[in-house]
Amino acid sequence: MIAMMALNAPSTLVHLSGVDLAIIAIYFLLVLAIGFYLKKFAKTGEDFFLAGREMTAWVAGLAFVSANLGSLELLGWAGNAYQYGIMAAHWYWIGAIPAMVFLGIVMMPFYYISKTHSVPGYLKLRYGTEASALSAVTFAFMTILMSGVNMYAMAVVMEVVLGWNLHFSIIVSSLTVGVYVAAGGLFSAIFNEVLQFFLIWFGALLIPILGLIETGGWSGMVARIHQNFPGANFTHMWGPMSSASNNPMGVHWIAIVFGLGAVQSMGYWTTDFLVVQRVLSAKDVRSAKLAPIIGSFFKMAVPLIVILPGLLGRAVLPFHLVPGNVAQPGQFKYDDVLPLMLARYCGPGLMGLGITALVAGFMAGMAGNVSAFATVWTYDLYRPYLRKDAPDAHYVSMGRWCTIIGLLVSIGTAYLVQYNKSMMDYVQALFGFFIAPLFGTVVLGMLWKRVSRMAGFWGLLAGVVTSVTAFLLMKFDPSWVKVFAFSPSAQPLAQAMWQALWACVTCVVVTVLATMVTKPKPDEELRGLVYALTEVPSEEHTSWLHRPVVWGGVALAILVVLQIIFW
């Protein structure tokens, strides 16, 4: 069937041979087989929703970083690298590594020791039902919408790149994901994410290797970029950010350090349950602490297969790519740079591997969304508010049905987006509304035992309202961009950073103020949930080579060196 669809392809970016189609088909067969194999192990709630809490630090770490290594991210960030240059790597380095280390060293012990199933579950234990319900409802709603948006985006990419029919891509991918996640739960999702990790690396790593051979190494590539785009600065990360008007992103270094590094990335990596759920599957506290740190080393290397191909596109492509909203028929968009580079260097076989990596990335993203949705719905909404004391098997069954229903809603959303494309921007923006303030609420709750039940709720709500207000004002009246982002030239990426910063600051200020005038929770209710009342297992008897804090320090040191090299 895949072959039939591929043969009917109209004009496309790449063309697949028989061996390429075989490689794609084998991937689908293997993930389905793994799903059926894992079904017999996903019997209890802990098995289905948390993969039995028995993953090693390496498996949990790779799944953690893979949950964020979806194909939309790969294509989008390669496109951003073409558009903005190496500055796009900030989202992989300062915009990820400190947050991942912080999650591992500071936050993970509380998530893990509290034995929560989810981030809203932690909020329920720490604050109460108000903050938890707000977080659970918004997360479940947004996750399922995001899944639909991703599904539609995948189908469009497959149509443009391979000429596959839109409905075919949506139905085959969602059926496959539905079968293997409903069968094996988080076991299946994590297995697929680890497979995806290897596929993406082996499918994309040849592009920078061959690209650097063609250009004569890094200096040769830089020379070619300067030759093709005289006067533009695409190969320095911090230099052009002394002023927002000096760089194509319109961003000042303060926004990168505080908006992206201290708030946006902290919010995403430490409170987005989609990624945190992978770490909760670890077999013990030390593994849970190590998993995000292991992930951070791989995350640091991702620019090799995402940012470098974008830069190489500037150096070697014989034509210029244009923004998606102005692309005319026959012109290629920024986001096409990765498939274009794949087609430039990869013949039969390698092309199939690269495309399989993209398909795997899309499907793993979908699986991540529906497995997180099933957990939050079942444990944070269905169990506390609809059916409290059902047997464990009932909740597993609910999780399986949620997976199917979640995918059906996602398919509906995908078709809704097809007819109302502006919805895509709104859904993606909606997710950002909750992440930054949620970080403020969670981290204050973990580190300060005085924060009261209602202070957590009001702080979170105030942060979300600030975020929504800033977004709407900047979107519909550009004069507000200067107010919130301190520069009229701030582009959407820079605006999002400032929006996150304002939301988090508001959340923290309101939480602190509300704490002062409300009654704190008694200490007995906070044991195992906050810093002052939790005994984290000591690591003094562990050799220093096995201590998470040592490897966290190494990750941060490498991060600093990378900043200096590419300053």
Partner: protein, 72 residues
């Protein structure tokens, strides 16, 4: 990977996939050795051959190390 369950380690499936893909890519590279595909750059480097070879080596190592053996 599993203590409570005797699940085949994910690394075995990784090895299996790499091995199968390595064979297919290496084979494709050898078939196209003297007739390189049009429009692809640096075909003189025969990337599919050595990349496929690398996948086979890694696939064999992972499969051998994590092959599910029944406990006595």
């Amino acid at each position: 990977m599993s203590e409570k369950h005797s699940i085949i380690p994910v690394w075995f499936f990784v090895g299996l996939l790499l091995l199968i893909y390595g064979v297919l890519i290496l084979g494709s590279g050898l078939v196209n050795w003297s007739h390189p595909p049009e429009g692809v750059e640096l075909t003189n480097l025969h990337a599919p051959v050595w990349w496929g070879g690398l996948l086979i080596v890694l696939g064999v190592i992972y499969c051998a190390k994590y092959y599910p053996r029944s406990e006595m």
